[in-house]
Each structure stands twice: as C-alpha cells, then as structure tokens.
C-alpha cells in the first residue's frame, strides 16, 4: 500500500506539470533537428549515426530529469514524511524509480520511432530499438535514484550527478546502441539484449540498496 501511494503521488506530481512529460520529447526533437543543421550532410551519414543518436538522446533527456528524484522531496520536507514513516527505504526507492520511469522513460520509448524516422533509421531496426529502450530505461531510472540520493542536499548537484552515473550507464549504452547497430548491419542482437537484461537484473537488485544507503548517510 505504501509502495503504491508513493508511486501514485509521484506520477501525479509529474502529471500536474504536464510539461515535465512532453518537454523531454520536444527537447529531443529539437536536438534531432539540430543535427542535420550542424552536419550539413545527407541521409548517408545520418543513417550511420542514427542508432547512437537515438540512444544518446534518450539518455540525455532522462539524465537531466534525474536530479530531482529526491531533491524536491528533500527540500519541501516530504522526504522526511516517508523516510520517517517506518517504510522500508529500498521499497521507497523502487517506488520512486518506477514513477520516474513511467513519467520519463515510457514517453521516450513511445516517442523513439519518431526520432528514428527523422534520422532515417532502417525500419527493420525499430522493433529492436523499442525493445532495447524498454529494458534500458528502467536501468536509467534505477541508477538515477542512486545518483539523485547522493546529491539530494546539494544546491547544484545536477552536473555532479551526471559524472557519478555516467560510468554506470556506459555499459548500458554500449549494449543498447550495439543491439540496434547489429540489427541495422543484419546481425543478430540477441547477445547484446541478453547482456542488457543482465544489467537490468543487477541494477534492480543493487541500486535500491545503494540509494537507500545514500539516503541514510545523508540524513545522519
């Protein structure tokens, strides 16, 4: 019940500011349009870099929303409400991560085909693009809670957060973009997807513990 109410509250808060949800997408769209502008190049180059760009965009647009997962709650005092309610901290972390995924990861996945079309990604790779994002975006959210918990009482922690979690995300990016790339090259992406799934399992088990530890230290 506590899990659900926390999840529900967070989704509601994000929903209230609808801009939170649609603006990452607009942001993506803008950068995607900038690429051809800056490149001055034709479809050839675009197509080559498409898997990487779609992926990096998904990453960046979640990255910049991570900071506030705990920070907002810390500042308005509502973090105390659930940490002092006796609720298990790792469970709270999973609820926060789930809400974050629902409000940022899911829209990114749904929007990915649009970006893919704009970047001339071969249609054969759409399925695997969506699948890999589906596995990877929860990882972003989970690892994001760790970073966000580490910096929650810093005034300007956003950048530090990127530095902290980027090394964690590098493997995800390699496997995810790799899967799409392999598909465009006509190879099987099974290996990459399996590794991605492994990353997911690992972060689902470890990230809540790490984030909970960080919150505890921060509240000491």
């Amino acid at each position: 019940m506590r899990f659900w109410i926390l999840l529900q509250r967070d989704v509601l808060v994000a929903w209230r500011k609808k801009s939170n949800i649609y603006q990452p997408l607009v942001f993506q769209l803008l950068i995607v349009t900038m690429f051809p502008l800056g490149l001055g190049a034709g479809a050839q180059t675009l197509q080559k870099i498409a898997p990487a760009v779609v992926w990096i965009l998904a990453l960046i647009s979640t990255l910049i929303t991570l900071e506030n997962i705990f920070k907002d709650d810390y500042e308005d005092g509502s973090l105390a409400l659930y940490t002092l309610s006796g609720m298990s901290l790792p469970v709270a972390v999973i609820a926060k991560a789930a809400a974050h995924w629902l409000t940022t990861g899911l829209p990114v996945i749904i929007f990915a085909p649009v970006i893919a079309v704009l970047l001339h990604l071969p249609a054969s790779a759409y399925g695997i693009l969506m699948l890999s994002l589906l596995i990877a975006t929860p990882i972003f959210s989970l690892l994001g809670t760790v970073g966000s918990a580490l910096i929650m009482n810093l005034k300007n922690g956003g950048m530090l957060l990127s530095v902290l979690i980027m090394p964690l995300l590098a493997p995800v990016l390699i496997f995810g973009a790799g899967a799409v790339l392999e598909t465009t090259l006509g190879n099987t992406p099974v290996g990459h997807i399996t590794l991605l799934a492994g990353c997911f399992v690992l972060s689902l088990t470890l990230a809540p513990l790490a984030a909970a530890a960080a919150i505890k230290v921060n509240l000491e």
Partner: protein, 207 residues
Amino acid sequence: MQSTILHISHAQCQKGGEPLFAPVDLVLQPGEMAVVAGNNGSGKTTLLEAVAGLGSFCQGGIHFAPDNNRDSWLQHSHYIGHSLGNKASLTCLENLHFAATINGIRTNEQQLSDGLAQVGLHGYEYHYANDLSAGQKKRLSLSRLLLLNKTFWLLDEPFVNLDQTGCDWLFDCISKHISQGGAALLTAHDNKRIHQQADHFIQLQRP
C-alpha cells in the same frame, strides 16, 4: 497509544565539527510535554531533527523504552520542522491523503475533509498547496497531526505564521493531546503560554 518512553541521555549534537550545546537529558513519558528553549542558533532544530531520526548525535543519544527499536519509535512519532512537508503541486486533500497512507492509515475523503476543516482549511480541499498563504501552509502540515494519531509530536516552531485563532487552536490541540496520553517535544519562541504549561523545560546552553 502505547506506553513508549523517550529517554534522551547526555545528548549533544554538532554542526561544523563543534558541539552546539551542553549535554541534554530528558525523560519524556506519554502525558507530558517538553519545551526546548534557547536563543537563535542554539541548536533547537538540530536537536529535534536528531530526535526525529533526521540527524545524529555526536555524544550520548536517545533510547526508546521498552524496546530500543528505531522502527517502533518511528511508528509512534511525527516530526514537523521548518520545511513543512507539503508537496506544492498537490492539492490539500491529496497532500493529506498521502501523509495518511504512507503512515499506514486508511482514510476516506470525508475524514480527510474533516481533518482540513479542523485546521481552518475548509473550502481549500482542491487548492494546490503552492497557492496557500504562509499560515495556510502551516495549517495544512499541522492537519497531519490529528489524522496520524501518533503518540510523540515533535514540533519545531509550530506557532510561526499562524494567526491569533490559529495559535489558540493549536494550543488547545496540544493540551488535549497531552491530556489524552500523548506527548510533545516542541520549540516556540513566540508562545510563552506553552512554556508555562510544559512539564519539562530544556534550556539549551553553550557547551
């Protein structure tokens, strides 16, 4: 309400590496009220947060009878500090509903509306917490106290920003809680009346 007892024994908190106040002792039983007093910057907030579980002691500490179990202490206490814990983009009703549910209390809308009406927020059920005035925000956070039904209330300057009727209401509310077997540990620069009512009076002094 259960007969938990809070022991604060020889406790000190630090900020920036130095202890803030001389060691503090207190035994707070249900049915009692303790007031923490001291000048600005003497460490009242720091002490209250440490007792609530949001900070730590550098010396001594707290102990909860009968079992020294952090979880059971959390189940019996509620802290309202300088940051009030309202989510700006939720309505008053939603804020209260969240606070209740996360503390494991099932409520229906009627109970929640009544809770808001008690603190003078009748008619503000569907206003966002962000759009309230300073005093109304305070009232919203205080409405949690009545609903959550905890034994120990830890209140940091609860009277701040309340108007005259609000202060009177809160005073009565605390008195009633005490007389019904609750306990309160609070600070209040601006309410001398409650200082006189206190069973325990802790004056924080330089170490």
